[in-house]
């Protein structure tokens, strides 16, 4: 008997599947848990969503000051800081201005204005957890890794309830937890045909994140924009990353639009890049069969 929970949050569809079928698990799989999950996600969005005018992140973007981040900001911003350096600024929390100018604003106006490169981290941010100082106003956006992090936090919540086998999926990024080594098969969605997959990956106690420019498209853009070229990369059609945390997998799918895998060697991950000509390049141990 599986528990399936489905709802909208963080701008996409969440699907939580619990495979535990014991009496003790049945006791926790109830409305109270559902409410706890949804409230935790809500709290995270209240901290970091650029689409909420009253979120902490929106406040930080408008008013220069010293801010104290909540506990769930530590891993998120530490990773942003590392990846900003490793990608020479191509992966940046200051991309918010570019996305908004391109039209991907809270109202979804989708009308591009003139784009300009975002300010640098050094000019704008001084960060040492928990202190996050904004030196000047700048639109922050942590969408490239935020969803991955909240998925991990929900995974921790379910583990704390004693559940032993489940999958937390938010819009196609997911973590599969199991105590019995049974792998989960995950289809790799065909970016041009959502009724098809181009291959099947297997994950066990890992996250898989998928990114593509197919859905959030408007004018000449999709939701990943290079801050120096001010364009959305089109030579890559889709990217998947498998890693030990959804935070890392999510962040690396964005990085791989901009830098080669070798530049990210410091992290443990497997990847697959699908190009515009339908060729794929994948890491030696990427656990998938392709069609």
């Amino acid at each position: 008997m599986a528990w399936h929970l489905e709802f909208t949050a963080t701008g996409t569809t969440w699907k939580i599947d619990v495979f535990d079928a014991t009496r003790s698990s049945a006791a926790v799989l109830n409305t109270a848990l559902e409410n706890q999950i949804r409230e935790r996600i809500n709290q995270f969005e209240q901290h970091y969503s650029r689409f909420r005018a009253d979120s902490l992140l929106s406040q930080m973007s408008k008013t220069p000051s010293d801010y104290i981040l909540p506990a769930d900001g530590e891993m998120l911003f530490n990773l942003y800081q590392e990846l900003y350096t490793l990608t020479n600024g191509l992966f940046t929390p200051l991309i918010g201005k570019v996305l908004v100018d391109a039209g991907y604003d809270p109202e979804y106006s989708l009308k591009p204005k003139k784009l300009s490169p975002p300010a640098s981290w050094a000019e704008t941010i001084d960060y040492q957890f928990p202190r996050f100082t904004m030196k000047q106003p700048a639109q922050l956006d942590v969408g490239a890794a935020g969803k991955g992090h909240i998925i991990d936090l929900i995974v921790e919540l379910l583990k704390s309830k004693g559940l032993t086998r489940f999958c937390v999926d938010a819009g196609g990024d997911m973590f599969y937890y199991t105590q019995d080594n049974q792998a989960l098969e995950v289809g790799l969605e065909h970016p041009d045909n959502q009724t098809q997959v181009i291959g099947i990956a297997n994950i066990t106690n890992q996250a898989i994140a998928g990114s593509s420019g197919n859905r959030r498209r408007w004018a000449n853009f999709h939701h990943t924009i290079n801050p120096t070229t001010l364009q959305s990369p089109n030579e890559i059609r889709a990217i998947w990353v498998i890693a030990e945390s959804t935070l890392l997998a999510d962040a690396l799918t964005t990085c791989l639009y901009f830098v080669p895998p070798q530049q990210l060697q410091k992290y443990q991950f497997e990847y697959c890049i699908l190009y515009a000509d339908y060729s794929v390049q994948f890491s030696e141990k990427f656990p998938a069969t392709f069609f």
């Binding site: 999958c167 990024d173 098969e185 969605e189 997959v197 959030r216 060729s279 794929v280």
Partner: protein
């Protein structure tokens, strides 16, 4: 990494990448199943000379071809195995198997040997038994509505 390592790394990579390219050329020229290669000669002064008879088609026999390439790395001789699958005159698959012995060469060969497939195709999800699919994030209704709105405005303008 320091400058010396960086130069060695670049040199090693270039060598490692050049090898299969050279091998491909070698393979395709040595395993041809000649289709309609024609030559013609003309003589005005009694000496045979070849003339251009226009484009000719060369057919490569379908199959899988394997060869081991040898190259000299800055550290010494190394080998790399390359396998190509040819179908209907097109390379449909290519694999590279590292065979290096020196640690530095092993590293470079592995980086190049990250898997590569020349083309993937889609299979219907309905025909497979898949519980989960990973792709870009499903968009909320608000976004889809906005896209539709833009399209309507574009038609009207």
């Amino acid at each position: 990494m320091n400058e010396t390592n960086k130069n060695l790394k670049t040199a090693g990579l270039i060598i490692a990448l050049a090898v299969p390219v050279i091998l491909v050329v070698y393979l395709l020229t040595s395993h041809k199943n000649n289709g309609s290669v024609t030559t013609a000669t003309s003589t005005t002064d009694g000496i045979p000379r070849p003339v251009d008879v226009g484009p000719t088609m060369t057919f490569y026999k379908d199959g899988t071809y394997s060869v081991t390439g040898n190259y000299r790395s800055p550290g010494g001789a190394e080998t790399l195995a390359v396998t190509l699958t040819i179908k209907n005159n097109v390379v449909t698959d290519a694999t590279v198997t590292p065979q290096a012995e020196r640690p530095v060469s092993v590293n470079f060969q592995n980086m190049f040997a990250a898997g590569y497939k020349t083309e993937v195709i889609g299979k219907n999800i309905a025909d497979l038994k898949l519980g989960k699919v990973s792709g870009s994030s499903l968009t909320p209704k608000g976004f889809n509505d906005a896209v539709e709105q833009i399209k309507i405005e574009a038609k009207q303008s």
